[in-house]
Subunit: 279 residues, 2 copies
Protein backbone atom coordinates (compact mmCIF):
# COMPACT_ATOMS: atom_id res chain seq x y z
CA UNK A 1 0.00 0.00 0.00
CA UNK A 2 2.80 2.41 0.91
CA UNK A 3 4.26 4.39 -1.97
CA UNK A 4 7.94 4.49 -1.09
CA UNK A 5 8.70 6.66 -4.11
CA UNK A 6 7.08 9.76 -2.62
CA UNK A 7 9.66 12.50 -1.90
CA UNK A 8 10.82 13.75 1.46
CA UNK A 9 9.66 17.36 1.94
CA UNK A 10 12.01 19.90 3.50
CA UNK A 11 11.27 23.53 4.27
CA UNK A 12 13.03 26.59 5.57
CA UNK A 13 12.68 30.35 5.46
CA UNK A 14 15.43 30.62 2.85
CA UNK A 15 18.78 29.06 2.00
CA UNK A 16 19.86 27.92 5.48
CA UNK A 17 17.91 24.68 5.22
CA UNK A 18 20.04 23.70 2.25
CA UNK A 19 22.75 22.63 4.74
CA UNK A 20 20.14 20.17 6.06
CA UNK A 21 19.19 19.09 2.55
CA UNK A 22 22.89 18.43 1.99
CA UNK A 23 23.00 16.03 4.94
CA UNK A 24 19.78 14.31 3.84
CA UNK A 25 21.08 13.95 0.29
CA UNK A 26 24.27 12.30 1.55
CA UNK A 27 22.60 10.03 4.09
CA UNK A 28 19.66 9.00 1.87
CA UNK A 29 21.06 8.80 -1.66
CA UNK A 30 18.04 6.90 -3.01
CA UNK A 31 15.35 9.32 -1.83
CA UNK A 32 13.76 12.06 -3.92
CA UNK A 33 13.91 15.38 -2.10
CA UNK A 34 11.62 18.39 -2.40
CA UNK A 35 12.79 21.67 -0.84
CA UNK A 36 10.74 24.80 -0.18
CA UNK A 37 12.56 28.05 0.69
CA UNK A 38 10.29 30.97 1.60
CA UNK A 39 12.79 33.46 0.18
CA UNK A 40 10.14 36.15 -0.30
CA UNK A 41 9.80 36.51 3.48
CA UNK A 42 13.21 35.37 4.73
CA UNK A 43 14.51 35.63 7.45
CA UNK A 44 12.16 34.24 10.11
CA UNK A 45 14.70 34.48 12.95
CA UNK A 46 13.98 38.09 13.88
CA UNK A 47 10.19 37.82 13.54
CA UNK A 48 7.54 37.14 16.17
CA UNK A 49 6.28 33.64 17.01
CA UNK A 50 2.80 34.41 15.65
CA UNK A 51 4.13 35.47 12.26
CA UNK A 52 6.42 32.42 12.04
CA UNK A 53 3.44 30.19 12.87
CA UNK A 54 1.36 31.70 10.06
CA UNK A 55 4.20 31.16 7.57
CA UNK A 56 4.77 27.60 8.84
CA UNK A 57 1.12 26.77 8.26
CA UNK A 58 1.42 27.87 4.64
CA UNK A 59 4.71 26.05 4.00
CA UNK A 60 3.47 22.81 5.56
CA UNK A 61 0.31 22.85 3.45
CA UNK A 62 2.39 23.43 0.33
CA UNK A 63 4.54 20.37 1.05
CA UNK A 64 1.54 18.20 1.90
CA UNK A 65 0.04 19.26 -1.42
CA UNK A 66 3.12 17.71 -3.06
CA UNK A 67 2.39 14.29 -1.45
CA UNK A 68 5.56 14.07 0.60
CA UNK A 69 6.05 11.03 2.83
CA UNK A 70 7.88 12.86 5.63
CA UNK A 71 8.55 16.52 6.43
CA UNK A 72 11.83 17.88 7.75
CA UNK A 73 11.45 21.34 9.27
CA UNK A 74 14.94 22.48 8.28
CA UNK A 75 14.88 25.68 10.33
CA UNK A 76 15.62 25.96 14.02
CA UNK A 77 13.44 29.05 14.42
CA UNK A 78 10.39 27.25 13.01
CA UNK A 79 11.22 24.14 15.03
CA UNK A 80 11.49 26.26 18.18
CA UNK A 81 8.29 28.28 17.90
CA UNK A 82 6.02 26.55 15.38
CA UNK A 83 6.75 22.80 15.17
CA UNK A 84 3.35 22.04 16.69
CA UNK A 85 1.65 23.91 13.82
CA UNK A 86 3.31 21.57 11.32
CA UNK A 87 2.72 18.45 13.42
CA UNK A 88 -0.97 19.23 13.97
CA UNK A 89 -1.51 19.70 10.27
CA UNK A 90 0.48 16.78 8.93
CA UNK A 91 -0.67 13.16 8.50
CA UNK A 92 2.97 12.19 7.75
CA UNK A 93 5.85 12.30 10.26
CA UNK A 94 7.44 15.71 10.96
CA UNK A 95 11.08 15.94 12.04
CA UNK A 96 12.28 19.20 13.59
CA UNK A 97 15.77 20.41 14.45
CA UNK A 98 15.53 20.73 18.24
CA UNK A 99 14.98 17.22 19.58
CA UNK A 100 17.64 15.46 17.45
CA UNK A 101 20.29 18.07 18.31
CA UNK A 102 19.34 18.18 21.99
CA UNK A 103 19.59 14.41 22.18
CA UNK A 104 23.01 14.40 20.47
CA UNK A 105 24.29 17.10 22.82
CA UNK A 106 23.23 15.10 25.89
CA UNK A 107 25.06 12.03 24.53
CA UNK A 108 28.13 14.16 23.78
CA UNK A 109 28.53 16.14 26.98
CA UNK A 110 30.74 14.71 29.73
CA UNK A 111 30.71 17.69 32.08
CA UNK A 112 26.98 18.46 31.85
CA UNK A 113 27.53 21.93 30.41
CA UNK A 114 25.92 22.48 27.02
CA UNK A 115 26.05 25.65 24.93
CA UNK A 116 23.46 26.71 22.34
CA UNK A 117 23.76 29.37 19.65
CA UNK A 118 20.88 30.47 17.44
CA UNK A 119 18.65 33.32 16.28
CA UNK A 120 16.87 35.69 18.68
CA UNK A 121 13.65 33.73 18.12
CA UNK A 122 15.22 30.33 18.83
CA UNK A 123 17.11 31.49 21.91
CA UNK A 124 14.15 33.51 23.21
CA UNK A 125 11.86 30.47 22.94
CA UNK A 126 14.04 28.42 25.33
CA UNK A 127 13.02 25.39 23.24
CA UNK A 128 16.46 23.77 23.52
CA UNK A 129 16.64 24.23 27.29
CA UNK A 130 13.18 22.74 27.77
CA UNK A 131 13.91 19.80 25.48
CA UNK A 132 17.26 19.01 27.09
CA UNK A 133 15.70 19.07 30.57
CA UNK A 134 12.84 16.85 29.42
CA UNK A 135 15.18 14.35 27.76
CA UNK A 136 17.63 14.21 30.66
CA UNK A 137 15.64 15.08 33.77
CA UNK A 138 17.95 12.94 35.86
CA UNK A 139 21.19 14.81 35.24
CA UNK A 140 19.58 18.13 34.32
CA UNK A 141 22.53 19.53 32.33
CA UNK A 142 23.36 23.23 32.65
CA UNK A 143 22.44 25.03 29.43
CA UNK A 144 23.95 28.32 28.21
CA UNK A 145 22.31 30.07 25.25
CA UNK A 146 23.52 32.93 23.09
CA UNK A 147 21.86 34.64 20.12
CA UNK A 148 24.31 35.24 17.25
CA UNK A 149 22.25 37.26 14.73
CA UNK A 150 25.23 38.44 12.67
CA UNK A 151 26.27 34.86 11.86
CA UNK A 152 23.44 34.51 9.33
CA UNK A 153 24.42 37.42 7.05
CA UNK A 154 28.12 36.53 7.45
CA UNK A 155 27.38 32.97 6.25
CA UNK A 156 25.23 34.20 3.38
CA UNK A 157 27.92 36.66 2.29
CA UNK A 158 30.46 33.83 2.31
CA UNK A 159 32.72 35.52 4.87
CA UNK A 160 33.46 32.11 6.40
CA UNK A 161 37.05 32.88 7.34
CA UNK A 162 37.19 36.67 7.48
CA UNK A 163 38.95 38.45 10.36
CA UNK A 164 35.71 40.33 11.11
CA UNK A 165 33.86 37.03 11.44
CA UNK A 166 36.50 35.87 13.90
CA UNK A 167 36.16 39.05 15.98
CA UNK A 168 32.37 38.74 16.04
CA UNK A 169 32.57 35.05 16.99
CA UNK A 170 34.98 35.86 19.82
CA UNK A 171 32.49 38.36 21.21
CA UNK A 172 29.38 36.16 20.89
CA UNK A 173 31.03 33.01 22.21
CA UNK A 174 32.93 34.55 25.16
CA UNK A 175 30.16 33.82 27.72
CA UNK A 176 29.89 30.17 26.59
CA UNK A 177 33.66 29.80 26.75
CA UNK A 178 33.69 31.31 30.24
CA UNK A 179 30.95 28.88 31.29
CA UNK A 180 33.15 25.93 30.24
CA UNK A 181 30.71 24.15 27.92
CA UNK A 182 32.14 20.96 26.37
CA UNK A 183 29.42 20.70 23.70
CA UNK A 184 27.95 23.45 21.52
CA UNK A 185 24.74 23.06 19.52
CA UNK A 186 24.85 25.03 16.27
CA UNK A 187 21.14 25.80 16.57
CA UNK A 188 20.72 27.55 13.22
CA UNK A 189 21.13 25.91 9.84
CA UNK A 190 23.45 28.70 8.64
CA UNK A 191 26.05 28.09 11.31
CA UNK A 192 27.72 24.92 9.94
CA UNK A 193 29.21 27.20 7.26
CA UNK A 194 31.05 29.01 10.07
CA UNK A 195 32.06 25.78 11.86
CA UNK A 196 35.78 26.42 11.23
CA UNK A 197 35.74 29.82 12.92
CA UNK A 198 33.47 28.60 15.73
CA UNK A 199 35.81 25.63 16.27
CA UNK A 200 38.86 27.92 16.41
CA UNK A 201 37.22 30.15 19.01
CA UNK A 202 36.01 27.13 21.04
CA UNK A 203 38.89 24.60 20.81
CA UNK A 204 38.17 21.16 22.22
CA UNK A 205 34.40 21.74 22.23
CA UNK A 206 32.23 19.28 20.31
CA UNK A 207 30.01 21.02 17.75
CA UNK A 208 26.55 19.51 17.15
CA UNK A 209 25.06 20.13 13.69
CA UNK A 210 21.26 20.17 14.04
CA UNK A 211 20.81 19.33 10.35
CA UNK A 212 23.04 16.26 10.52
CA UNK A 213 21.26 14.91 13.61
CA UNK A 214 17.80 15.43 12.10
CA UNK A 215 18.82 13.62 8.91
CA UNK A 216 19.67 10.55 10.99
CA UNK A 217 16.29 10.71 12.72
CA UNK A 218 14.50 11.04 9.37
CA UNK A 219 16.32 8.00 8.02
CA UNK A 220 15.46 5.95 11.11
CA UNK A 221 11.76 6.86 10.88
CA UNK A 222 11.54 5.86 7.21
CA UNK A 223 13.40 2.63 7.84
CA UNK A 224 11.22 1.67 10.83
CA UNK A 225 8.05 2.38 8.85
CA UNK A 226 9.38 0.50 5.83
CA UNK A 227 8.99 3.65 3.76
CA UNK A 228 12.59 4.01 2.65
CA UNK A 229 13.03 4.08 -1.11
CA UNK A 230 14.74 0.94 -2.43
CA UNK A 231 15.80 -0.77 -5.61
CA UNK A 232 15.29 2.40 -7.58
CA UNK A 233 16.14 2.27 -11.25
CA UNK A 234 16.07 6.01 -12.04
CA UNK A 235 18.43 8.69 -10.77
CA UNK A 236 17.26 10.45 -7.62
CA UNK A 237 15.58 13.83 -8.11
CA UNK A 238 15.98 17.01 -6.05
CA UNK A 239 13.44 19.80 -6.65
CA UNK A 240 13.75 23.24 -5.10
CA UNK A 241 10.76 25.61 -4.80
CA UNK A 242 11.36 29.23 -3.79
CA UNK A 243 8.95 32.13 -3.27
CA UNK A 244 11.40 34.73 -4.59
CA UNK A 245 14.46 34.43 -6.79
CA UNK A 246 17.07 37.06 -5.94
CA UNK A 247 19.97 37.37 -8.40
CA UNK A 248 22.39 35.84 -5.91
CA UNK A 249 20.23 32.76 -5.17
CA UNK A 250 21.88 30.09 -7.32
CA UNK A 251 25.40 30.96 -6.18
CA UNK A 252 24.50 31.15 -2.49
CA UNK A 253 22.47 27.93 -2.75
CA UNK A 254 25.38 26.03 -4.26
CA UNK A 255 27.67 27.18 -1.47
CA UNK A 256 25.19 26.00 1.17
CA UNK A 257 24.34 22.74 -0.58
CA UNK A 258 27.77 21.74 -1.84
CA UNK A 259 26.50 21.05 -5.38
CA UNK A 260 24.42 23.00 -7.92
CA UNK A 261 20.62 22.78 -7.94
CA UNK A 262 19.29 21.77 -11.34
CA UNK A 263 15.54 22.00 -10.72
CA UNK A 264 14.67 25.41 -9.28
CA UNK A 265 11.01 26.46 -9.50
CA UNK A 266 9.77 29.87 -8.46
CA UNK A 267 6.29 29.98 -7.00
CA UNK A 268 4.29 33.12 -6.18
CA UNK A 269 3.65 33.86 -2.56
CA UNK A 270 -0.06 33.67 -3.43
CA UNK A 271 0.41 30.01 -4.38
CA UNK A 272 1.05 29.22 -0.73
CA UNK A 273 -2.30 28.33 0.84
CA UNK A 274 -3.46 31.25 2.98
CA UNK A 275 -4.30 30.77 6.63
CA UNK A 276 -7.74 31.95 7.64
CA UNK A 277 -8.18 31.62 11.34
CA UNK A 278 -9.80 33.62 14.08
CA UNK A 279 -6.60 34.71 15.81
Amino acid sequence: MTDRTRPIGVFDSGVGGLTVLRKLAALLPDEDLLYLGDTARVPYGNKSAGTVQTYTHQCTRFLLGQSVKLIVVACNTVSAVALQVATDLSPVPVVGMIQPAASAAIRSSSNGKIGIIGTYATVGSKAYEKTIRALDAQHSPAVYAQACPLFVPLAEEGWHHHAATHLIAEEYLAPLKAAGVDTLIMGCTHYPLLADVIGQVMPGVRLVDSGEESAVVARDILTAADEAQRERTTPRRIDCYITDRPTTFAAVAERFLGFPLSNIHQIAIDDLPVLHEED
Copy 2:
Protein backbone atom coordinates in the same frame (compact mmCIF):
# COMPACT_ATOMS: atom_id res chain seq x y z
CA MET B 1 -10.56 72.95 -0.04
CA THR B 2 -7.24 71.39 0.92
CA ASP B 3 -7.13 69.64 4.26
CA ARG B 4 -3.70 70.56 5.54
CA THR B 5 -4.17 68.43 8.66
CA ARG B 6 -3.85 65.14 6.79
CA PRO B 7 -0.69 63.24 7.81
CA ILE B 8 2.40 62.59 5.74
CA GLY B 9 2.68 58.85 5.01
CA VAL B 10 6.05 57.15 5.20
CA PHE B 11 6.85 53.52 4.44
CA ASP B 12 9.76 51.14 4.57
CA SER B 13 10.39 47.42 4.79
CA GLY B 14 11.22 47.69 8.48
CA VAL B 15 13.03 49.99 10.89
CA GLY B 16 15.49 51.64 8.47
CA GLY B 17 12.95 54.23 7.35
CA LEU B 18 12.78 55.50 10.92
CA THR B 19 16.00 57.43 10.23
CA VAL B 20 14.01 59.21 7.49
CA LEU B 21 11.05 59.74 9.83
CA ARG B 22 13.51 61.29 12.26
CA LYS B 23 14.61 63.86 9.66
CA LEU B 24 10.99 64.58 8.67
CA ALA B 25 10.00 65.00 12.32
CA ALA B 26 12.80 67.51 12.87
CA LEU B 27 12.26 69.48 9.65
CA LEU B 28 8.45 69.51 9.81
CA PRO B 29 7.58 69.79 13.50
CA ASP B 30 3.94 70.72 12.83
CA GLU B 31 3.08 67.78 10.58
CA ASP B 32 1.37 64.58 11.69
CA LEU B 33 3.35 61.55 10.52
CA LEU B 34 2.14 58.04 9.78
CA TYR B 35 4.77 55.32 9.38
CA LEU B 36 4.32 51.82 7.97
CA GLY B 37 7.10 49.24 8.49
CA ASP B 38 6.56 45.89 6.75
CA THR B 39 8.42 44.05 9.50
CA ALA B 40 6.74 40.72 8.67
CA ARG B 41 8.63 40.58 5.36
CA VAL B 42 11.73 42.65 6.10
CA PRO B 43 14.30 42.98 4.54
CA TYR B 44 13.53 43.91 0.93
CA GLY B 45 17.16 44.60 -0.02
CA ASN B 46 18.04 41.01 -0.92
CA LYS B 47 14.77 40.24 -2.73
CA SER B 48 13.92 40.41 -6.42
CA ALA B 49 12.45 43.49 -8.08
CA GLY B 50 9.14 41.73 -8.77
CA THR B 51 8.62 40.80 -5.14
CA VAL B 52 9.53 44.31 -3.96
CA GLN B 53 7.02 45.75 -6.47
CA THR B 54 4.23 43.53 -5.12
CA TYR B 55 4.97 44.59 -1.54
CA THR B 56 5.21 48.26 -2.58
CA HIS B 57 1.77 48.07 -4.16
CA GLN B 58 0.33 46.80 -0.88
CA CYS B 59 2.12 49.36 1.30
CA THR B 60 1.13 52.28 -0.96
CA ARG B 61 -2.51 51.24 -0.90
CA PHE B 62 -2.42 50.99 2.89
CA LEU B 63 -1.11 54.55 3.22
CA LEU B 64 -3.61 55.91 0.69
CA GLY B 65 -6.34 54.26 2.74
CA GLN B 66 -5.18 56.43 5.66
CA SER B 67 -5.75 59.63 3.63
CA VAL B 68 -2.18 60.84 3.62
CA LYS B 69 -1.36 64.05 1.76
CA LEU B 70 2.10 62.99 0.58
CA ILE B 71 4.03 59.71 0.58
CA VAL B 72 7.70 59.37 1.38
CA VAL B 73 9.14 56.04 0.18
CA ALA B 74 11.67 55.79 3.00
CA CYS B 75 13.58 52.88 1.53
CA ASN B 76 16.27 53.07 -1.11
CA THR B 77 15.54 49.56 -2.40
CA VAL B 78 11.88 50.39 -3.02
CA SER B 79 12.83 53.75 -4.51
CA ALA B 80 15.31 52.03 -6.83
CA VAL B 81 13.14 49.22 -8.17
CA ALA B 82 9.49 50.11 -7.45
CA LEU B 83 8.99 53.88 -7.18
CA GLN B 84 6.91 53.84 -10.35
CA VAL B 85 4.49 51.38 -8.74
CA ALA B 86 3.82 53.87 -5.93
CA THR B 87 3.68 56.87 -8.27
CA ASP B 88 1.26 55.20 -10.69
CA LEU B 89 -1.08 54.32 -7.84
CA SER B 90 -0.99 57.54 -5.87
CA PRO B 91 -3.07 60.68 -6.43
CA VAL B 92 -0.83 62.51 -3.92
CA PRO B 93 2.86 63.34 -4.42
CA VAL B 94 5.39 60.55 -3.87
CA VAL B 95 8.94 61.36 -2.77
CA GLY B 96 11.59 58.65 -3.15
CA MET B 97 15.15 58.48 -1.87
CA ILE B 98 17.12 58.41 -5.11
CA GLN B 99 16.51 61.73 -6.85
CA PRO B 100 16.98 63.97 -3.76
CA ALA B 101 20.25 62.21 -2.81
CA ALA B 102 21.55 62.14 -6.40
CA SER B 103 20.85 65.85 -6.73
CA ALA B 104 22.62 66.63 -3.43
CA ALA B 105 25.64 64.54 -4.48
CA ILE B 106 25.96 66.42 -7.77
CA ARG B 107 25.88 69.75 -5.89
CA SER B 108 28.45 68.46 -3.41
CA SER B 109 31.04 66.90 -5.70
CA SER B 110 33.91 69.07 -6.91
CA ASN B 111 35.95 66.38 -8.65
CA GLY B 112 33.05 64.65 -10.43
CA LYS B 113 33.62 61.34 -8.63
CA ILE B 114 30.63 60.12 -6.65
CA GLY B 115 30.42 56.95 -4.57
CA ILE B 116 27.22 55.06 -3.74
CA ILE B 117 26.70 52.37 -1.12
CA GLY B 118 23.46 50.38 -0.74
CA THR B 119 21.81 46.97 -0.76
CA TYR B 120 22.32 44.41 -3.54
CA ALA B 121 18.94 45.40 -5.00
CA THR B 122 19.70 49.13 -5.01
CA VAL B 123 23.19 48.74 -6.46
CA GLY B 124 22.06 46.14 -8.99
CA SER B 125 19.29 48.43 -10.26
CA LYS B 126 21.80 51.16 -11.23
CA ALA B 127 19.06 53.65 -10.28
CA TYR B 128 21.53 56.12 -8.77
CA GLU B 129 23.86 56.03 -11.79
CA LYS B 130 20.97 56.59 -14.20
CA THR B 131 19.52 59.44 -12.14
CA ILE B 132 22.88 61.18 -11.72
CA ARG B 133 23.55 60.98 -15.47
CA ALA B 134 20.06 62.28 -16.25
CA LEU B 135 20.37 65.17 -13.80
CA ASP B 136 23.87 66.17 -14.89
CA ALA B 137 24.20 65.04 -18.49
CA GLN B 138 26.62 67.89 -19.20
CA HIS B 139 29.34 66.88 -16.73
CA SER B 140 28.45 63.21 -16.56
CA PRO B 141 30.07 62.47 -13.17
CA ALA B 142 31.86 59.16 -12.67
CA VAL B 143 29.85 56.94 -10.35
CA TYR B 144 31.25 54.08 -8.23
CA ALA B 145 28.77 51.75 -6.52
CA GLN B 146 29.31 49.15 -3.83
CA ALA B 147 26.82 46.83 -2.12
CA CYS B 148 27.38 46.68 1.66
CA PRO B 149 24.89 44.02 2.81
CA LEU B 150 26.43 43.48 6.25
CA PHE B 151 25.90 47.14 7.21
CA VAL B 152 22.15 46.53 7.73
CA PRO B 153 22.45 43.82 10.42
CA LEU B 154 25.38 45.67 12.03
CA ALA B 155 23.23 48.82 12.34
CA GLU B 156 20.26 46.84 13.65
CA GLU B 157 22.45 45.09 16.23
CA GLY B 158 23.75 48.48 17.37
CA TRP B 159 27.38 47.64 16.60
CA HIS B 160 27.92 51.24 15.45
CA HIS B 161 31.50 51.52 16.69
CA HIS B 162 32.66 47.91 16.96
CA ALA B 163 36.10 46.89 15.67
CA ALA B 164 34.43 44.29 13.42
CA THR B 165 32.26 47.01 11.87
CA HIS B 166 35.41 49.01 11.17
CA LEU B 167 37.10 46.01 9.51
CA ILE B 168 34.03 45.34 7.36
CA ALA B 169 33.74 49.01 6.38
CA GLU B 170 37.42 49.08 5.39
CA GLU B 171 36.84 46.14 3.07
CA TYR B 172 33.63 47.40 1.49
CA LEU B 173 34.83 50.97 1.00
CA ALA B 174 38.36 50.22 -0.28
CA PRO B 175 37.37 50.40 -4.00
CA LEU B 176 35.57 53.74 -3.50
CA LYS B 177 38.56 55.11 -1.63
CA ALA B 178 40.88 53.93 -4.39
CA ALA B 179 38.65 55.62 -6.95
CA GLY B 180 39.07 58.94 -5.12
CA VAL B 181 35.39 59.85 -4.65
CA ASP B 182 34.84 63.16 -2.84
CA THR B 183 31.16 62.50 -2.11
CA LEU B 184 29.50 59.31 -0.87
CA ILE B 185 25.76 58.68 -0.98
CA MET B 186 24.59 56.55 1.95
CA GLY B 187 22.00 54.86 -0.25
CA CYS B 188 20.30 52.82 2.45
CA THR B 189 18.37 54.25 5.37
CA HIS B 190 20.27 52.08 7.86
CA TYR B 191 23.65 53.54 6.99
CA PRO B 192 23.40 56.93 8.78
CA LEU B 193 23.73 54.92 12.02
CA LEU B 194 27.20 53.88 10.82
CA ALA B 195 28.13 57.39 9.62
CA ASP B 196 30.92 57.71 12.22
CA VAL B 197 32.70 54.55 11.07
CA ILE B 198 32.10 55.35 7.39
CA GLY B 199 33.49 58.85 7.96
CA GLN B 200 36.58 57.46 9.70
CA VAL B 201 37.27 55.10 6.82
CA MET B 202 36.63 57.84 4.22
CA PRO B 203 38.13 60.99 5.78
CA GLY B 204 37.43 64.24 3.94
CA VAL B 205 34.59 62.69 1.93
CA ARG B 206 31.16 64.34 2.14
CA LEU B 207 28.45 61.89 3.20
CA VAL B 208 25.00 62.39 1.69
CA ASP B 209 22.08 61.14 3.82
CA SER B 210 19.26 60.12 1.45
CA GLY B 211 16.67 60.53 4.22
CA GLU B 212 17.72 64.07 5.03
CA GLU B 213 17.63 65.15 1.38
CA SER B 214 14.21 63.62 0.78
CA ALA B 215 12.80 65.39 3.86
CA VAL B 216 13.82 68.72 2.34
CA VAL B 217 12.11 67.82 -0.95
CA ALA B 218 8.94 66.75 0.91
CA ARG B 219 8.85 70.07 2.76
CA ASP B 220 9.31 72.04 -0.44
CA ILE B 221 6.48 70.18 -2.20
CA LEU B 222 4.06 70.79 0.67
CA THR B 223 5.03 74.46 0.89
CA ALA B 224 4.68 75.02 -2.86
CA ALA B 225 1.26 73.35 -2.88
CA ASP B 226 0.17 75.30 0.21
CA GLU B 227 -0.45 72.01 1.99
CA ALA B 228 1.92 72.51 4.90
CA GLN B 229 0.24 72.29 8.30
CA ARG B 230 0.09 75.65 10.06
CA GLU B 231 -1.24 77.35 13.16
CA ARG B 232 -1.89 74.01 14.80
CA THR B 233 -3.23 74.09 18.31
CA THR B 234 -2.77 70.41 19.24
CA PRO B 235 0.52 68.52 19.67
CA ARG B 236 1.75 66.75 16.56
CA ARG B 237 1.01 63.03 16.33
CA ILE B 238 3.27 60.23 15.09
CA ASP B 239 1.65 56.83 14.43
CA CYS B 240 3.63 53.73 13.59
CA TYR B 241 2.04 50.69 11.91
CA ILE B 242 4.00 47.43 11.69
CA THR B 243 3.12 44.05 10.17
CA ASP B 244 5.04 42.09 12.81
CA ARG B 245 6.20 43.00 16.30
CA PRO B 246 9.42 41.21 17.22
CA THR B 247 10.48 41.48 20.87
CA THR B 248 13.36 43.79 20.01
CA PHE B 249 11.24 46.24 17.97
CA ALA B 250 10.68 49.09 20.44
CA ALA B 251 14.34 49.26 21.47
CA VAL B 252 15.69 49.13 17.92
CA ALA B 253 13.09 51.67 16.76
CA GLU B 254 14.09 54.14 19.45
CA ARG B 255 17.74 53.86 18.47
CA PHE B 256 16.90 54.55 14.82
CA LEU B 257 14.41 57.34 15.54
CA GLY B 258 16.20 59.09 18.39
CA PHE B 259 13.07 59.13 20.60
CA PRO B 260 10.54 56.53 21.73
CA LEU B 261 7.45 55.74 19.66
CA SER B 262 4.27 56.12 21.69
CA ASN B 263 1.68 54.96 19.15
CA ILE B 264 2.65 51.56 17.75
CA HIS B 265 -0.11 49.58 16.04
CA GLN B 266 0.35 46.04 14.77
CA ILE B 267 -1.60 45.13 11.65
CA ALA B 268 -1.93 41.66 10.14
CA ILE B 269 -0.27 41.02 6.83
CA ASP B 270 -3.74 40.18 5.52
CA ASP B 271 -4.83 43.76 6.27
CA LEU B 272 -2.54 44.96 3.50
CA PRO B 273 -4.55 45.04 0.28
CA VAL B 274 -3.55 42.10 -1.92
CA LEU B 275 -2.34 42.64 -5.46
CA HIS B 276 -4.17 40.71 -8.14
CA GLU B 277 -2.59 41.24 -11.50
CA GLU B 278 -1.83 39.18 -14.54
CA ASP B 279 1.96 39.22 -14.16
